[in-house]
Symmetry: C2
Subunit: 412 residues, 2 copies
């Protein structure tokens, strides 16, 4: 039996940890699923661990050892999703909705063997399809899989989103809804910009840039996967029944705007490595030295050469950086003389498919910021995004001014 | 590779939930295992869920639904052992002891498909043997397995003991140690009889009778399994390093005594079903009606017939009985007229291989109890045990008197 033998379209719903943090939230998730079933859709729910379960398990591990082996950490964390999948399946049965829970392994999620950051190699959805054909709702543990040796693996940050999108792709699902504690993706952080509005639709590329630049709502990996397999994604509220934000291919209907959103990220640090020899391949060595330490570089700028040496500056997420990076080693790796870390910075990003199309955008951005007397520390731009590093104290003013100047708030 | 290819003898250690209830207890369990490894033994540890984890998961389920499906309940509970096995494996690694954790499935525990009370069909210990051959300590989740369809099952009460004994049998282990919060099996409950001493060795049959009559230290199923496969069992303290109680075949060296122990069980109810038609097979129907409801009958007595009707009286554990039994249905099943439940009773058991050998024992028991003016409600005896139902108020006096009269306290 293959997904195409099923009589009804398939909907994949992903519930984040905060949306199923208590028995009563699990019950309300079950009611939502029951409504989808009533609309003649086959439903697969992908669940994260309840609330702070993952944090609780992680601190238990830390109490036992400072260096938990990655294999055992994966085993430990996998228990969190197993718990929530069983409870959600019970809640569905209580509502009279036939349901069955599957671990990553039972759901056919086969990954490579890189514990804590495994990649999905393939999905063998036979048991899932069979259960759907029997009119059961499938509740699948997100974030986990097993490798070819049946070893339990986890997918790292944003892993449950990735599980959901991958399963949606494998099943040819009509869409994949990421249900969370916000109602959708906004034109800016509403806490900063009261005028910010929810975006009704944006492109995979725009969402990918936003995710990679620190938008918490979706992880870049899952957006990439959705783009590759053209899985229609929706970000919506887990508790409120209202339309969310659609993330779709460029050919799909969406509002044509130049700038889609102004986003910000305060949790970044700026690192400058001084007097790095000007040799080919230095940037690659730097990236890979940081990558080896699990640090995800957000933005990199190489300053002008002086006497055969460059200063290289890059921006990294503060948390993972402080936790993971052995900066001295990185500096030695690239032959730098010394380094400076600045935590009082923030990232300000202007995202939109129209940025490349409209040559005037960059100029407009810089004049708006100049009017606000905001100094730009670093600037980086791509087809879809212009990122500026500013002083953290200037961030709110900058975001508000740019939002007012660049975003039509009737687009939502 | 088979267990016989291993160069060192195999020791199976089972840690109960209270013995690994916190990170520091897990660390102390790991130290104990490290010592065993130092003695040139291959070690397999079987773990229960930490402390009250199983209770916590059960109440989460009850908050979601009053009738959790048994399949999903098994999935939910299995997460408890997965958590503790990962943490113990981490603690071992921290001590420099190579270790690997296995779920029931990974450990090759194949069961039938009776969720919540599955029976082990076979063990495929290939991965376990392979890990031992690589000098790893194997930490195995107790209480769980998977059926032939890879569905997660649990083994019911005493399940982790059963996992440990079954794995010890499959590996031809030198012995299986059940490590718990008592130091061994005693001649009587030390809280009742201050003179009670720890038994150094007793037979499988004696232990089985004691387990089936309410001794909490070991579950009957695991003792039965140990007897069948002649697995040498030891009950010992998880935290104190001192000899425990050996449970061995009759041919093994142990103290020859008439009475091994006087045990008691207060958590019982006496049920009488009145005016049951005197037909063949009534007792079987009664047993199976109670068995269907998950009630384990401890003792049954059929009173004299009057006018073609019998009164049937039996003793059951109070807790499971109150929780599970639909007594009205059972009474209808056997055609009884009415029933009486008496909770103010207790079970007093005299256990020993010598009871059948020495015809005077029964007489001695009854005279001791008569001198104490203790009325016997019901009496039942087998080769190995004489059980009396007494008023709960008489229990302590009865146990003390019998222990003083029948047990040589230098046997330990």
């Amino acid at each position: 039996m293959t997904p195409s033998d099923l009589s009804q379209p398939i909907l994949v719903l992903k519930f984040g940890g905060t949306s199923i943090a208590s028995p009563s939230l699990i019950q309300s998730a079950a009611r939502r699923i029951a409504n989808c079933r009533a609309e003649q859709m086959h439903v697969v729910c992908v669940v994260s661990a309840m609330g702070d379960t993952t944090d609780r398990l992680t601190s238990l591990a830390r109490e036992v050892t400072e260096n938990p082996p990655r294999r055992e950490m994966d085993v430990l964390l996998s228990a969190g999703e197993v718990q929530s999948m069983a409870l959600l399946s019970m809640a569905l049965t209580e509502l009279g909705v036939p349901a069955i829970s599957f671990t990553g392994q039972q759901g056919g999620i086969v990954t490579d063997d890189r514990h804590a950051e495994a990649r999905i190699l393939r999905i063998d959805p036979d048991r899932v399809v069979e259960a759907l054909a029997q009119d059961q709702v499938v509740v699948l543990a997100g974030f986990q899989g097993t490798d070819e040796q049946q070893e339990i693996t986890t997918l790292g940050r944003g892993g449950s989103d990735t599980s959901a999108v991958a399963m949606a792709a494998a099943l040819g699902a009509q869409r994949c809804e990421i249900l969370t504690d916000v109602t959708g993706v906004f034109t800016a952080d509403p806490n900063i910009v009261p005028d910010a509005v929810q975006i009704s639709a944006l492109s995979y590329d725009e969402m990918l840039e936003m995710a990679n630049l620190g938008a918490k709502v979706l992880h870049g990996r899952s957006v990439e996967l959705a783009r590759r397999f053209l899985v229609p994604l929706v970000v919506a509220s887990a508790t409120e029944d209202r339309p969310g934000t659609r993330i779709v291919g460029k050919d799909e209907p969406m509002e044509e705007v130049v700038v889609r959103a102004v986003t910000d990220d305060r949790d970044v640090s700026k690192v400058s490595i001084l007097s790095v020899p000007d040799e080919p391949g230095i940037a690659a060595r730097l990236f890979s030295a940081l990558g080896d330490q699990g640090v995800n570089v957000r933005l990199i700028v190489q300053a002008q050469s002086h006497e055969g040496h460059n200063d290289i500056t890059f921006v990294v997420p503060s948390n993972t950086f402080i936790e993971k990076a052995d900066l001295k080693k990185v500096v030695e790796e690239v032959g730098g003389a010394s380094w400076i870390v600045d935590d009082e910075v923030a990232l300000l990003n202007i995202v939109g498919e129209g940025i490349a199309r409209e040559p005037g955008v960059a100029g407009k951005i810089f004049s708006v910021l100049a009017e606000e007397k905001i100094n730009l520390d670093l600037i980086s731009s791509s087809n879809l995004v212009i990122s500026c590093v500013v002083k953290e104290a200037d961030l709110v003013r900058g975001v508000r001014a740019l939002h007012a100047a660049l975003i039509q708030t009737d687009q939502g």
